[in-house]
Symmetry: D2
Subunit: 366 residues, 4 copies
């Protein structure tokens, strides 16, 4: 209800502020018998770690995940998995001034409006560090989905005006450039663009794309908890997301039915589709084609340029946000998007297990 | 969990299939003391009623709402409000053939994949008639929000390639044309476009925009149940939605921080913003500016053109969907979008009541 | 949240007041493929129907259940099952006076305290008629559990001071006497006792016992949603329940560990227990032995005797409740207790399906 | 769903096993602006700490609570409060043998049945240490309720056959004897009884009683989430509880309506009741009288006496549980019962805030 939990069966609760003692997540509902170790989680966390290129904050955050419960002799036990990442390298002094005014594009004002005051150090609960809990949980969800044959490919589709070209799509390239773009040429241009933004004390947004393969058909509920609706919520719950679309998305609004409909056909022993404008979801349920979605990420609001704003009492002021901020958060958000997608899909996969009487019998009758 | 309920405090459960005995909704958690009558609900339902123009199905559905419980002497009692709309004018015979094959763009195949079989008459549970329950509940939510000073303006922004122009925006025009467009010129062009689609046995998509004014600041939860995340889920749970964006949305991904940030200022005795790229939401909470969002609606999948598809067993077949289908569902979906937005916002408004100790004291201490 | 729903997967929402248009339930999350017809539900409803003996209200309530959705060609489709029972034979005039004062033992005062006013006709939402929705849903849950080999035996254990004797326990006797007691001798004595209560214009309470056999071991969650905790809530949510115990229950508090512990043994190819003080539940999970629980039902608060009470404004008054009230509700509550137990157990059975990785693979991998 | 969370608004998730790295709780939904420090929590934890008398295990567990998030400058911020208690003094070696067999009265067998295997060290997740998270959260809930004028008095009512006498009830005595009994004479007799149990290598059960004063009327939902139903679940979710009753409880089943009904009267400017057989709850809502309930606690299943049981494969074996076990857990469970009651009541208090339109206006309109 206060909304720090996600999922109804595989349920993740995150906690922690930027400058508190740490951040973490508790996963309730993880099935027993999954092999799991801290390294599984660390691999995911390392993908969002800052300081890996000139295009992310030079802050050092080692972000070591500790599993405190729920794993015994290398396997999940079915009981809650508590994961803790201690905060380090937080200098509270850095943030004393921002207590007094409201930064444009940040949640300072809305936190005050909701709660009456806020933990202003480093963004408090609305800091990007909150996503550590999500990514830790996403690592566990991904591991389970991997055992079910479901794979994620997530990457940067555009940075500012620079977009990848379908023509040069190269999966292997994603991990070769610091922007996680699957197109070396676009990645080079995007880096130029970012350098220019930085020289102008400005920042950039971008678009992240995610492709999920190996989905069984029929996952998702049919009314409010449609697979696309749950994905939309999952992705939109990430701080900087301002848009979400599935398959042809906004473009489909300008299409005709005859262009947008995907014809069914029979291929490799199963029902498939000729095209995939639907992005792998029909009537809120997976249709067996790859799920494809995109998330629009707004430019980092913390910029060194002078901005107009007001103090708590309404007095106008001018600010210039110094400090170690990402000129673009898109590359670091790639793993956050993937994690949230994994949480959404796994939860609906588990929900779907009770959809047929024959499934109850498969589990409980000899 | 099976996902026919929406909301955590103001909780709506819809039920019913296109060709069953009826459709309806149960609202649990409506505060006591709201004046409510069937006419309040009927007004909303009439906005989605078919047969009002040549651009919607000529089916006659009177869709009379009956309140079965939860209202006593003209006021809500705080107990569940059960609303029933009987199905009429359903000719099951019309649909016998579609039992055997999978219509492109529809949920036929995914229903079979999930449940093993489906009620194939008129789309069954995935029929647009399911939204009657949502709209009935949305009418109640809107009435409550109206008493809190919160208003909705929802309209068609585009039909196929024809979009309204900001220059000619005219609120009064919305109810004057059958497409609910706030721009007479665009509405005329869109009607021409639709006539052409119909002559080609084809259909069109479009974009719906919604503006919410009068929001107090600080509504929405800070992590997973952000106001934009809950809105995204609410809107994406409507059948034909393929994209959702808030404020500058996808455009913000191509902007710089200095362009996208909205400067705070002090105006009319309260903190406000110079621009509204954020669409009224910062850090997942309302910021007091109008909330602005858009939903992309795909073209109606039922078209009279010949389409390729397969039968249940995979055999290829050709179909041409006859019958009384909307060439565009956008105008009828306007009130569905508004209803889902109202449900999302009201639920978070109620959730937010417990955010401060002083609120508990306001309610319970003398 | 407003608490008209029960269950997290097999989720039941009841609605309706005593003197509104009807009462009903919506079941969301019923697996697809269960054979179901109105007669399945009617059989359960008939067990709670009044007017079947001199010990229940002579009101005539035909209580015919209609299934409005979720069943197609005799099978559940996996979508919500809406069940409606129209109210009949309600004479609102009977109840006009009770609007002004608070009946002892009833919810009149607390409804006013919570909502500011109440639908005072026939108890409104707190009427026993609300249980019709529970019993209708319980009928569906029982049918599913029956297919899983799980059976319920529920009966009256005592009426006032008259208790059944373990020595003369006779299952077949339950349906032979109007009190649903499995002991003809006790039933005769209890009827004598009730006649005396009625002649004194008074009423009686009693104890209901329920035995559930065929439970697989391991059903129930390990912390807050223990099988006994969920059962306790389910049973205590029935209006007149004042006590609940499992197995040896309150008696175990006076026992020693050596008396109360049940030794494990191996019998008929499986692990079993020598005794069953635990009532079939260990650590919140079923242990494979029969589940045995008891519910204490308070005496009907509506009595014809003169009682002291106050009016809404605090003025003292004397009342004598006339009308057609049950001198004891225990026999009619037997099926309500069984229904709530079925709902609780089925929901946890379904919840438990995701407890192991191997279960996910059984459902989704070829 | 996996049931490690309790509450819908004030939502507590506990995690941790007896012999893992620690145990803890995350509280989501705590209102902002409550003064809170670790000492507030420690005071509650110290009440359940072992080693305080010869009647509890001599294990030393310092159980120091650390608040990791959600508190800033001494006040709750409205964001999740994560509380961590590190495990110490765990000797895994002690428990190696119990991996192979099933202890009577414990959850060993049911854990294996549910999950396929278990963390057998010290009871794993079903250890009494799991209640640390509950008590830590209960301390926070109690503090909030205290500010609302709601107080708890919880004590041991009986140990084995030795019960307190209403005649000698002395509140001040509760903290003077190690059994938390409000009757010095009964406490002395109970200690004699426990010594005898210990000399017989046996254990004892008992009954805990809780009285809650200062409740506003009208708290609790009217159907499934009745105040007594939620309390029943809360209390029954504590490991060793086998019975729960409110007010006259099981005794009311043998009473007549005229004896059990509580007459309303007007006293001290408000509506009150002459007697309190109802235990402060009518129709599932608080009636303004003290809430009184009792919980039956079974005798500690770990006893040094020889017991029959089976190994995992069904082979019979004899065991004698050595180690540092409580001969009675009732005194240490007193604060656990109080904590769960506080969690249940606070959650319903917060839920109830949205029951009236006028409350929404009180919070949101100027």
């Amino acid at each position: 209800m206060a909304g720090s939990s996600f999922g109804s069966i595989f349920q993740v609760t995150t906690w922690g502020e930027s400058h508190g003692k740490g951040v973490g997540a508790v996963i309730d509902g993880c099935p027993a018998g999954l092999s799991l170790c801290e390294e599984d989680i660390q691999r995911f966390l390392d993908r969002r770690k800052p300081g890996q290129s000139r295009f992310s904050t030079p802050r050092k955050e080692s972000d070591q995940a500790k599993i405190l419960s729920g794993v015994f002799e290398g396997k999940t036990t079915g009981t809650p998995i508590s994961i803790l990442v201690r905060n380090e390298n937080q200098k509270s002094g850095d943030y004393s001034e921002i207590a007094s005014y409201y930064r444009p594009g940040h949640a300072d004002y809305t936190f005050d409006a909701k709660y009456g005051f806020r933990d202003y150090r480093g963004g408090g609960r609305s800091s990007g560090r909150e996503t550590i809990g999500r990514v830790a949980a996403g690592a566990v969800a991904s591991k389970i989905l991997g055992e079910m044959g479901i794979r994620f490919l997530t990457y940067t589709r555009s940075i500012g005006p620079v977009s990848i070209s379908g023509q040069y799509f190269d999966e292997a390239e994603i991990s070769r450039n610091p922007l996680y773009m699957p197109d070396a040429d676009a990645a080079a241009k995007a880096q130029e663009y970012l350098k220019q933004c930085m020289s102008e004390k400005d920042s950039s947004g971008g678009v992240i794309e995610c492709v999920v393969t190996g989905m069984p058909a029929g996952i998702g509920e049919t009314v409010f908890d449609k697979l696309d609706a749950v994905l939309a919520k999952a992705i939109f719950s990430i701080g900087a997301v301002k848009g979400f679309e599935i398959g042809s998305g906004f473009a489909s609004a300008a299409m005709k039915g005859s262009e947008n409909n995907d014809a069914f056909l029979f291929r490799d022993g199963r029902i498939a589709k000729e095209t995939n404008h639907a992005g792998g979801i029909l009537g809120g349920m997976s249709d067996g084609s790859p799920i494809i979605f995109r998330a629009a990420i707004k430019p980092t609001p913390s910029i060194a340029r002078t901005q107009h704003t007001v103090k708590k009492d309404g007095t106008p002021t001018e600010i210039s946000i110094q400090g170690r901020h990402d000129p673009v958060i898109v590359p670091r958000a790639v793993v956050v998007v993937e994690s949230m997608a994994a949480l959404a899909i796994l939860d609906l996969l588990m929900t779907g297990m009770t959809s047929r009487m024959e499934n109850l019998k498969k589990i409980y009758l000899p």
